[in-house]
Symmetry: C2
Subunit: 222 residues, 2 copies
Protein backbone atom coordinates (compact mmCIF):
# COMPACT_ATOMS: atom_id res chain seq x y z
CA UNK A 1 0.00 0.00 0.00
CA UNK A 2 1.11 3.47 -0.85
CA UNK A 3 1.56 6.02 1.92
CA UNK A 4 -0.21 9.31 1.49
CA UNK A 5 3.13 10.96 0.74
CA UNK A 6 3.55 8.60 -2.17
CA UNK A 7 0.01 9.32 -3.29
CA UNK A 8 0.76 13.04 -3.27
CA UNK A 9 3.94 12.71 -5.29
CA UNK A 10 2.24 10.57 -7.90
CA UNK A 11 -0.78 12.82 -8.18
CA UNK A 12 1.33 15.93 -8.67
CA UNK A 13 3.51 14.20 -11.22
CA UNK A 14 0.37 13.29 -13.14
CA UNK A 15 -1.06 16.79 -12.97
CA UNK A 16 2.17 18.33 -14.23
CA UNK A 17 2.36 15.73 -16.99
CA UNK A 18 -1.17 16.54 -18.14
CA UNK A 19 -0.80 20.30 -17.84
CA UNK A 20 2.57 20.69 -19.48
CA UNK A 21 2.23 17.80 -21.87
CA UNK A 22 5.67 16.51 -21.05
CA UNK A 23 6.69 12.97 -20.32
CA UNK A 24 9.49 13.45 -17.81
CA UNK A 25 8.85 15.79 -14.93
CA UNK A 26 12.04 17.45 -13.60
CA UNK A 27 12.85 17.14 -9.91
CA UNK A 28 12.87 20.85 -9.26
CA UNK A 29 9.29 21.23 -10.35
CA UNK A 30 8.17 18.35 -8.17
CA UNK A 31 10.03 19.79 -5.22
CA UNK A 32 8.35 23.14 -5.74
CA UNK A 33 4.76 21.97 -5.98
CA UNK A 34 5.16 19.66 -3.02
CA UNK A 35 6.99 22.22 -0.93
CA UNK A 36 10.04 20.09 -0.20
CA UNK A 37 13.74 20.62 -0.86
CA UNK A 38 15.14 19.34 -4.15
CA UNK A 39 17.21 16.76 -2.30
CA UNK A 40 14.07 15.30 -0.80
CA UNK A 41 12.43 15.03 -4.18
CA UNK A 42 15.45 13.20 -5.56
CA UNK A 43 15.59 10.67 -2.78
CA UNK A 44 11.85 10.18 -3.06
CA UNK A 45 12.20 9.58 -6.79
CA UNK A 46 14.51 6.70 -6.00
CA UNK A 47 12.10 5.14 -3.55
CA UNK A 48 9.26 5.57 -6.00
CA UNK A 49 11.29 3.82 -8.65
CA UNK A 50 12.27 1.05 -6.26
CA UNK A 51 8.57 0.40 -5.63
CA UNK A 52 7.63 0.51 -9.29
CA UNK A 53 5.62 3.74 -9.32
CA UNK A 54 7.87 5.75 -11.63
CA UNK A 55 10.85 5.51 -13.92
CA UNK A 56 13.65 7.77 -12.77
CA UNK A 57 16.10 9.33 -15.24
CA UNK A 58 18.93 10.93 -13.25
CA UNK A 59 19.37 14.65 -13.92
CA UNK A 60 16.30 14.58 -16.16
CA UNK A 61 13.19 13.66 -14.25
CA UNK A 62 10.57 11.01 -13.60
CA UNK A 63 7.69 9.54 -15.53
CA UNK A 64 4.84 7.43 -14.21
CA UNK A 65 4.76 3.70 -14.83
CA UNK A 66 1.42 2.16 -15.72
CA UNK A 67 0.95 1.22 -12.08
CA UNK A 68 1.85 4.73 -10.96
CA UNK A 69 -0.44 6.35 -13.45
CA UNK A 70 -3.31 4.19 -12.35
CA UNK A 71 -2.89 5.20 -8.74
CA UNK A 72 -2.43 8.85 -9.66
CA UNK A 73 -5.59 8.85 -11.75
CA UNK A 74 -7.44 7.35 -8.86
CA UNK A 75 -6.18 10.13 -6.60
CA UNK A 76 -7.39 12.71 -9.09
CA UNK A 77 -10.76 11.00 -9.11
CA UNK A 78 -10.93 11.13 -5.34
CA UNK A 79 -9.86 14.72 -5.25
CA UNK A 80 -12.37 15.93 -7.78
CA UNK A 81 -15.28 13.93 -6.43
CA UNK A 82 -14.57 15.28 -2.98
CA UNK A 83 -14.41 18.83 -4.28
CA UNK A 84 -17.76 18.29 -5.93
CA UNK A 85 -19.19 17.00 -2.67
CA UNK A 86 -17.84 19.94 -0.70
CA UNK A 87 -19.43 22.44 -3.07
CA UNK A 88 -22.66 20.68 -3.99
CA UNK A 89 -23.58 19.10 -0.71
CA UNK A 90 -21.90 21.07 2.02
CA UNK A 91 -22.09 24.44 0.32
CA UNK A 92 -18.42 25.40 0.34
CA UNK A 93 -17.03 28.11 -1.90
CA UNK A 94 -14.73 27.23 -4.75
CA UNK A 95 -11.68 28.75 -3.15
CA UNK A 96 -11.85 26.69 0.02
CA UNK A 97 -12.25 23.19 -1.31
CA UNK A 98 -8.84 22.35 -2.67
CA UNK A 99 -7.09 22.22 0.68
CA UNK A 100 -9.86 20.20 2.27
CA UNK A 101 -10.02 17.66 -0.54
CA UNK A 102 -6.26 17.38 -0.38
CA UNK A 103 -6.54 15.87 3.09
CA UNK A 104 -9.64 13.77 2.63
CA UNK A 105 -8.55 12.12 -0.60
CA UNK A 106 -6.05 9.97 1.27
CA UNK A 107 -8.50 8.81 3.89
CA UNK A 108 -11.57 7.93 1.87
CA UNK A 109 -11.90 4.27 0.98
CA UNK A 110 -12.93 2.93 -2.39
CA UNK A 111 -16.19 1.83 -0.87
CA UNK A 112 -17.11 5.24 0.51
CA UNK A 113 -15.97 6.88 -2.69
CA UNK A 114 -18.37 4.83 -4.78
CA UNK A 115 -21.29 5.56 -2.48
CA UNK A 116 -20.41 9.23 -2.65
CA UNK A 117 -20.28 9.05 -6.42
CA UNK A 118 -23.78 7.57 -6.44
CA UNK A 119 -25.02 10.14 -3.98
CA UNK A 120 -23.72 12.96 -6.17
CA UNK A 121 -25.33 11.46 -9.27
CA UNK A 122 -22.08 10.34 -10.88
CA UNK A 123 -20.92 13.79 -11.99
CA UNK A 124 -18.42 13.90 -14.85
CA UNK A 125 -16.94 17.29 -14.04
CA UNK A 126 -15.87 18.88 -10.79
CA UNK A 127 -16.86 22.40 -9.72
CA UNK A 128 -13.86 23.86 -11.55
CA UNK A 129 -15.00 22.17 -14.75
CA UNK A 130 -12.17 19.67 -14.69
CA UNK A 131 -13.11 16.16 -15.76
CA UNK A 132 -13.45 13.51 -13.05
CA UNK A 133 -11.57 10.36 -14.09
CA UNK A 134 -13.70 7.23 -14.23
CA UNK A 135 -13.24 4.32 -11.84
CA UNK A 136 -10.96 2.65 -14.35
CA UNK A 137 -8.74 5.72 -14.58
CA UNK A 138 -10.08 6.98 -17.86
CA UNK A 139 -10.33 10.71 -18.22
CA UNK A 140 -13.11 12.31 -20.20
CA UNK A 141 -11.37 13.73 -23.23
CA UNK A 142 -13.00 16.92 -24.26
CA UNK A 143 -11.95 19.17 -27.03
CA UNK A 144 -14.20 21.87 -25.70
CA UNK A 145 -12.83 24.41 -23.26
CA UNK A 146 -14.33 26.89 -20.83
CA UNK A 147 -15.46 30.18 -22.35
CA UNK A 148 -12.90 31.94 -20.23
CA UNK A 149 -10.10 30.23 -22.14
CA UNK A 150 -10.95 31.86 -25.46
CA UNK A 151 -9.75 35.20 -26.73
CA UNK A 152 -11.68 38.18 -27.95
CA UNK A 153 -13.27 37.96 -31.41
CA UNK A 154 -13.47 34.18 -31.35
CA UNK A 155 -16.59 32.61 -32.82
CA UNK A 156 -17.74 29.63 -30.86
CA UNK A 157 -20.43 27.10 -30.25
CA UNK A 158 -21.61 26.20 -26.76
CA UNK A 159 -21.00 22.52 -26.03
CA UNK A 160 -22.13 22.05 -22.47
CA UNK A 161 -22.86 23.67 -19.14
CA UNK A 162 -20.88 22.09 -16.38
CA UNK A 163 -22.58 23.52 -13.35
CA UNK A 164 -25.63 21.67 -12.05
CA UNK A 165 -26.72 24.64 -9.96
CA UNK A 166 -30.39 25.44 -10.59
CA UNK A 167 -30.08 29.21 -10.49
CA UNK A 168 -27.29 29.17 -12.96
CA UNK A 169 -29.03 26.79 -15.32
CA UNK A 170 -32.12 29.00 -15.27
CA UNK A 171 -30.04 32.03 -16.07
CA UNK A 172 -28.15 30.20 -18.78
CA UNK A 173 -31.31 29.07 -20.49
CA UNK A 174 -32.70 32.58 -20.43
CA UNK A 175 -29.52 34.00 -21.93
CA UNK A 176 -29.61 31.35 -24.66
CA UNK A 177 -26.42 29.92 -23.24
CA UNK A 178 -27.37 26.43 -24.33
CA UNK A 179 -25.55 23.69 -26.21
CA UNK A 180 -25.53 24.30 -29.95
CA UNK A 181 -25.93 28.04 -29.71
CA UNK A 182 -23.45 30.22 -31.63
CA UNK A 183 -21.73 33.17 -30.00
CA UNK A 184 -18.91 35.56 -30.60
CA UNK A 185 -16.69 36.93 -27.85
CA UNK A 186 -16.85 40.68 -28.36
CA UNK A 187 -15.19 41.69 -25.11
CA UNK A 188 -12.80 40.17 -22.59
CA UNK A 189 -11.45 42.16 -19.66
CA UNK A 190 -9.19 39.92 -17.62
CA UNK A 191 -8.61 42.56 -14.99
CA UNK A 192 -12.33 43.19 -14.64
CA UNK A 193 -12.98 39.48 -14.64
CA UNK A 194 -15.59 39.92 -17.36
CA UNK A 195 -16.50 38.50 -20.74
CA UNK A 196 -19.09 39.80 -23.21
CA UNK A 197 -20.73 37.60 -25.79
CA UNK A 198 -22.98 38.36 -28.72
CA UNK A 199 -25.43 35.93 -30.30
CA UNK A 200 -25.84 35.72 -34.05
CA UNK A 201 -28.99 37.80 -33.57
CA UNK A 202 -27.13 40.56 -31.81
CA UNK A 203 -28.16 39.81 -28.24
CA UNK A 204 -25.50 40.66 -25.65
CA UNK A 205 -24.58 38.60 -22.56
CA UNK A 206 -22.12 39.53 -19.84
CA UNK A 207 -20.44 36.85 -17.77
CA UNK A 208 -17.97 36.92 -14.90
CA UNK A 209 -15.04 34.54 -15.19
CA UNK A 210 -16.45 32.26 -12.56
CA UNK A 211 -19.51 31.70 -14.66
CA UNK A 212 -17.60 31.67 -17.91
CA UNK A 213 -15.62 28.73 -16.54
CA UNK A 214 -18.79 26.71 -16.24
CA UNK A 215 -19.63 27.00 -19.92
CA UNK A 216 -17.74 24.78 -22.32
CA UNK A 217 -17.44 25.76 -25.94
CA UNK A 218 -15.70 24.90 -29.20
CA UNK A 219 -14.27 27.42 -31.63
CA UNK A 220 -16.41 27.78 -34.74
CA UNK A 221 -15.29 28.84 -38.18
CA UNK A 222 -17.76 31.44 -39.38
Amino acid sequence: MATSTVENYLKEILVITLDDEISKVPMGQIAKVLGVTPGTATSMAKSLERDGWVRYFPRVGVSLTRKGRKLAMNMLRRHRLLETFLVETLGFDWDEIHVEAEELEHAISEKVLEKLDDFLGRPRFDPHGDPIPSKGGMIQQIASKPLSDFEKDTNLRIESIIDQNKEFLRFARKAKLIPGQLFKIIGKEVCADSITLKTSRGKLVNLGFRSAEKVLALPYES
Copy 2:
Protein backbone atom coordinates in the same frame (compact mmCIF):
# COMPACT_ATOMS: atom_id res chain seq x y z
CA MET B 1 -0.33 19.72 15.83
CA ALA B 2 -1.01 16.16 16.77
CA THR B 3 -0.24 13.40 14.29
CA SER B 4 -2.98 10.92 13.57
CA THR B 5 -1.09 8.33 15.60
CA VAL B 6 -1.29 10.63 18.59
CA GLU B 7 -4.98 11.22 17.89
CA ASN B 8 -5.58 7.48 17.91
CA TYR B 9 -3.77 6.88 21.16
CA LEU B 10 -5.65 9.68 22.89
CA LYS B 11 -9.02 8.59 21.57
CA GLU B 12 -8.52 5.01 22.69
CA ILE B 13 -7.31 6.11 26.09
CA LEU B 14 -10.48 8.17 26.43
CA VAL B 15 -12.75 5.36 25.32
CA ILE B 16 -11.16 2.92 27.78
CA THR B 17 -11.39 5.52 30.54
CA LEU B 18 -15.10 6.04 29.87
CA ASP B 19 -15.92 2.36 29.47
CA ASP B 20 -14.01 0.99 32.42
CA GLU B 21 -14.40 4.04 34.65
CA ILE B 22 -10.76 4.00 35.57
CA SER B 23 -8.40 6.93 35.69
CA LYS B 24 -5.11 5.31 34.72
CA VAL B 25 -5.10 3.11 31.67
CA PRO B 26 -2.42 0.38 31.81
CA MET B 27 0.05 0.12 28.95
CA GLY B 28 -0.87 -3.43 28.07
CA GLN B 29 -4.45 -2.50 27.35
CA ILE B 30 -3.44 0.40 25.15
CA ALA B 31 -1.02 -1.80 23.26
CA LYS B 32 -3.76 -4.35 22.68
CA VAL B 33 -6.46 -2.03 21.36
CA LEU B 34 -4.02 -0.23 19.10
CA GLY B 35 -2.39 -3.40 17.88
CA VAL B 36 1.17 -2.48 18.80
CA THR B 37 3.74 -4.16 21.02
CA PRO B 38 3.84 -3.16 24.70
CA GLY B 39 7.23 -1.55 24.22
CA THR B 40 5.82 0.72 21.56
CA ALA B 41 3.01 1.79 23.84
CA THR B 42 5.47 2.62 26.59
CA SER B 43 7.69 4.72 24.38
CA MET B 44 4.64 6.44 22.99
CA ALA B 45 3.43 7.19 26.51
CA LYS B 46 6.65 9.08 27.11
CA SER B 47 6.29 11.15 23.96
CA LEU B 48 2.68 11.87 24.82
CA GLU B 49 3.73 13.06 28.25
CA ARG B 50 6.55 15.14 26.81
CA ASP B 51 4.01 16.93 24.62
CA GLY B 52 1.54 17.42 27.43
CA TRP B 53 -1.22 15.07 26.26
CA VAL B 54 -1.10 12.61 29.15
CA ARG B 55 0.41 12.03 32.57
CA TYR B 56 2.50 8.89 32.64
CA PHE B 57 2.87 6.82 35.81
CA PRO B 58 5.59 4.22 35.21
CA ARG B 59 4.42 0.64 35.71
CA VAL B 60 0.88 1.88 36.27
CA GLY B 61 -0.51 3.60 33.23
CA VAL B 62 -1.48 6.92 31.68
CA SER B 63 -4.28 9.41 32.20
CA LEU B 64 -5.31 12.25 29.93
CA THR B 65 -4.41 15.83 30.77
CA ARG B 66 -7.07 18.46 30.19
CA LYS B 67 -5.48 19.22 26.84
CA GLY B 68 -5.39 15.52 25.93
CA ARG B 69 -8.98 14.96 26.97
CA LYS B 70 -10.11 17.88 24.87
CA LEU B 71 -8.45 16.50 21.78
CA ALA B 72 -9.71 13.00 22.48
CA MET B 73 -13.28 14.26 22.90
CA ASN B 74 -12.95 16.05 19.62
CA MET B 75 -11.86 12.85 17.94
CA LEU B 76 -14.88 11.06 19.37
CA ARG B 77 -17.06 13.84 17.99
CA ARG B 78 -15.49 13.47 14.57
CA HIS B 79 -15.83 9.73 14.64
CA ARG B 80 -19.47 9.72 15.62
CA LEU B 81 -20.52 12.49 13.27
CA LEU B 82 -18.83 10.68 10.43
CA GLU B 83 -20.55 7.43 11.33
CA THR B 84 -23.85 9.28 11.28
CA PHE B 85 -23.06 10.71 7.87
CA LEU B 86 -22.10 7.33 6.47
CA VAL B 87 -25.37 5.78 7.59
CA GLU B 88 -27.78 8.67 7.12
CA THR B 89 -26.48 10.16 3.91
CA LEU B 90 -24.56 7.48 2.09
CA GLY B 91 -26.69 4.56 3.21
CA PHE B 92 -24.03 2.36 4.79
CA ASP B 93 -24.86 -0.49 7.13
CA TRP B 94 -24.01 -0.29 10.81
CA ASP B 95 -21.36 -2.92 10.67
CA GLU B 96 -19.28 -1.21 8.00
CA ILE B 97 -18.96 2.32 9.28
CA HIS B 98 -16.52 2.02 12.15
CA VAL B 99 -13.50 1.25 10.01
CA GLU B 100 -14.32 3.97 7.51
CA ALA B 101 -14.83 6.65 10.14
CA GLU B 102 -11.58 5.57 11.76
CA GLU B 103 -9.70 6.78 8.69
CA LEU B 104 -11.71 9.86 7.86
CA GLU B 105 -11.72 11.30 11.37
CA HIS B 106 -8.06 12.28 11.05
CA ALA B 107 -8.48 13.98 7.70
CA ILE B 108 -11.59 16.06 8.17
CA SER B 109 -10.99 19.67 9.14
CA GLU B 110 -12.90 21.57 11.77
CA LYS B 111 -14.48 23.62 9.03
CA VAL B 112 -15.79 20.66 7.07
CA LEU B 113 -16.89 19.00 10.28
CA GLU B 114 -19.09 21.93 11.22
CA LYS B 115 -20.65 22.08 7.77
CA LEU B 116 -21.31 18.37 7.99
CA ASP B 117 -22.86 18.82 11.42
CA ASP B 118 -25.21 21.44 9.96
CA PHE B 119 -26.01 19.29 6.98
CA LEU B 120 -26.94 16.39 9.25
CA GLY B 121 -29.12 18.62 11.39
CA ARG B 122 -26.83 18.66 14.43
CA PRO B 123 -27.59 15.12 15.60
CA ARG B 124 -26.92 14.35 19.27
CA PHE B 125 -26.56 10.60 18.92
CA ASP B 126 -24.78 8.46 16.38
CA PRO B 127 -26.32 5.43 14.63
CA HIS B 128 -25.28 3.14 17.50
CA GLY B 129 -27.09 5.46 19.88
CA ASP B 130 -23.86 6.73 21.44
CA PRO B 131 -23.84 10.42 22.30
CA ILE B 132 -21.94 12.77 20.00
CA PRO B 133 -19.76 15.11 22.09
CA SER B 134 -20.48 18.79 21.53
CA LYS B 135 -17.99 21.15 19.94
CA GLY B 136 -16.74 22.08 23.39
CA GLY B 137 -16.13 18.45 24.31
CA MET B 138 -19.21 17.98 26.46
CA ILE B 139 -20.84 14.60 26.32
CA GLN B 140 -24.57 14.08 26.66
CA GLN B 141 -25.01 11.97 29.76
CA ILE B 142 -27.91 9.60 29.56
CA ALA B 143 -28.98 7.09 32.14
CA SER B 144 -29.94 4.28 29.81
CA LYS B 145 -29.78 0.76 31.21
CA PRO B 146 -29.62 -2.72 29.71
CA LEU B 147 -32.96 -4.22 28.66
CA SER B 148 -32.45 -6.98 31.17
CA ASP B 149 -32.72 -4.44 34.00
CA PHE B 150 -36.32 -3.50 33.24
CA GLU B 151 -39.43 -5.23 34.53
CA LYS B 152 -42.38 -6.69 32.69
CA ASP B 153 -44.87 -4.23 31.20
CA THR B 154 -42.36 -1.40 30.94
CA ASN B 155 -42.54 0.79 27.85
CA LEU B 156 -39.13 1.77 26.64
CA ARG B 157 -37.09 3.32 23.91
CA ILE B 158 -33.92 1.70 22.61
CA GLU B 159 -30.95 4.00 23.13
CA SER B 160 -27.97 2.03 21.95
CA ILE B 161 -26.52 -1.34 21.11
CA ILE B 162 -23.30 -2.02 22.97
CA ASP B 163 -22.06 -5.00 21.05
CA GLN B 164 -20.22 -4.32 17.78
CA ASN B 165 -20.44 -7.92 16.69
CA LYS B 166 -21.52 -8.11 13.05
CA GLU B 167 -23.93 -11.02 13.45
CA PHE B 168 -25.60 -9.40 16.36
CA LEU B 169 -25.88 -6.02 14.68
CA ARG B 170 -27.43 -7.61 11.63
CA PHE B 171 -29.90 -9.48 13.79
CA ALA B 172 -30.69 -6.35 15.79
CA ARG B 173 -31.41 -4.35 12.69
CA LYS B 174 -33.69 -7.03 11.32
CA ALA B 175 -35.59 -7.19 14.58
CA LYS B 176 -35.97 -3.39 14.59
CA LEU B 177 -33.80 -3.28 17.69
CA ILE B 178 -32.42 0.11 16.74
CA PRO B 179 -31.96 3.40 18.59
CA GLY B 180 -35.17 5.36 18.78
CA GLN B 181 -37.43 2.37 18.41
CA LEU B 182 -40.24 1.92 20.99
CA PHE B 183 -40.89 -1.41 22.67
CA LYS B 184 -42.83 -2.88 25.53
CA ILE B 185 -41.60 -5.75 27.66
CA ILE B 186 -44.44 -8.21 27.55
CA GLY B 187 -42.64 -11.14 29.09
CA LYS B 188 -39.69 -11.70 31.40
CA GLU B 189 -38.73 -15.13 32.71
CA VAL B 190 -35.67 -14.83 34.89
CA CYS B 191 -35.39 -18.56 35.41
CA ALA B 192 -35.67 -19.24 31.69
CA ASP B 193 -33.23 -16.42 30.98
CA SER B 194 -35.64 -14.91 28.46
CA ILE B 195 -37.27 -11.59 27.66
CA THR B 196 -40.04 -10.92 25.16
CA LEU B 197 -40.59 -7.53 23.57
CA LYS B 198 -43.35 -6.15 21.43
CA THR B 199 -43.00 -3.25 19.01
CA SER B 200 -45.70 -0.63 18.76
CA ARG B 201 -46.84 -2.44 15.63
CA GLY B 202 -47.23 -5.71 17.42
CA LYS B 203 -44.08 -7.45 16.25
CA LEU B 204 -42.58 -9.84 18.82
CA VAL B 205 -38.90 -10.33 19.63
CA ASN B 206 -37.38 -12.84 22.00
CA LEU B 207 -34.02 -12.23 23.60
CA GLY B 208 -31.86 -14.23 25.98
CA PHE B 209 -30.42 -12.30 28.90
CA ARG B 210 -26.97 -12.32 27.42
CA SER B 211 -28.26 -10.42 24.40
CA ALA B 212 -30.62 -8.27 26.44
CA GLU B 213 -27.61 -6.94 28.32
CA LYS B 214 -26.18 -5.58 25.10
CA VAL B 215 -29.19 -3.41 24.38
CA LEU B 216 -29.50 -0.17 26.33
CA ALA B 217 -32.88 1.49 26.73
CA LEU B 218 -34.70 4.27 28.54
CA PRO B 219 -38.15 3.95 30.09
CA TYR B 220 -40.78 5.71 28.05
CA GLU B 221 -44.07 7.16 29.28
CA SER B 222 -46.75 5.94 26.92
